[in-house]
Symmetry: C2
Subunit: 122 residues, 2 copies
DNA sequence: GGCGTACTACGATGCCTATCGTACGAGTCG
DNA sequence: CGACTCGTACGATAGGCATCGTAGTACGCC
């Protein structure tokens, strides 16, 4: 009633205090998920799941996004049929200052060093 | 000879260029291994495996140290029957500047925040 | 040589997880 | 309504991994 414009399908997110460092590290230890986070950081905006062209099926993509959400790395919101994904920068920077930027920098350095194409940012 | 004093049993370590960020994150996503790294960083020296009083058997302890070594986080050297462990600060700081310190800081903050005893440093 | 300590190697076990395929629900557009 | 797109849920599968126990190796000491 009050806000019928967007879908009200709610997605469970961990509260800020429930975010654990081990969970973040585990989530980012997967190359696919690390790439997702790099792309999200590059646009500093929200992207739909379908924006990402990952070399896995949609089922697996859903799985990876859920891992990122449940670990507290990203926030997911439905907008119609699309599900928008954004980094939880505010929460992460508050809990672990500098962690996200350092991890992103480390990932970028590795891409440069290895000449890897996993970045996909550019 | 030049250095016959210590055992020559060699342990396989990844070269600096072989160290991967994903491997580091995976290694540190385990609470036990994160605690080991925190203790090593606290003493900024080398510690034997038996120094650590982990709530697992020696077999499991060996396993965790191997994961840390094979991911490039620590260096292991035999000294007689003991096996000394030290952080690969030089390599890590060169490959990923600030990463190790940021991760250690994040871990410390979490211990303070959660009132957790997993630190064991003090 | 004999003994004790420190660590390893190997096999087993149970859980977690990355992946897939298929069937389904939610929303948009004609 | 009907069709299409986006994403989910569920089951299956294969591989990884944290853990253990036991047997064994390397080293130092007496």
């Amino acid at each position: 009633m009050t806000s019928p414009a967007v879908s009200s399908r709610a997605l469970p997110h961990p509260a800020r205090d429930e975010i654990r460092l081990e969970g973040i590290l585990h989530a980012l230890s997967d190359p696919m998920r690390l790439q997702i986070v790099r792309e999200l950081a590059a646009v500093s905006d929200e992207l739909s799941c379908s924006h990402f062209d990952l070399p896995v099926t949609k089922s697996t993509t859903t799985h990876h996004f859920r891992v990122l959400r449940e670990s507290g790395v990203i926030r997911q919101i439905y907008q119609g049929t699309a599900k928008m994904n954004g980094l939880r920068r505010d929460d992460l920077d508050d809990l672990f200052p500098g962690l996200l930027d350092t991890l992103l920098d480390a990932a970028a350095r590795q891409v440069v060093r290895l000449g890897d194409r996993t970045g996909g940012v550019g």
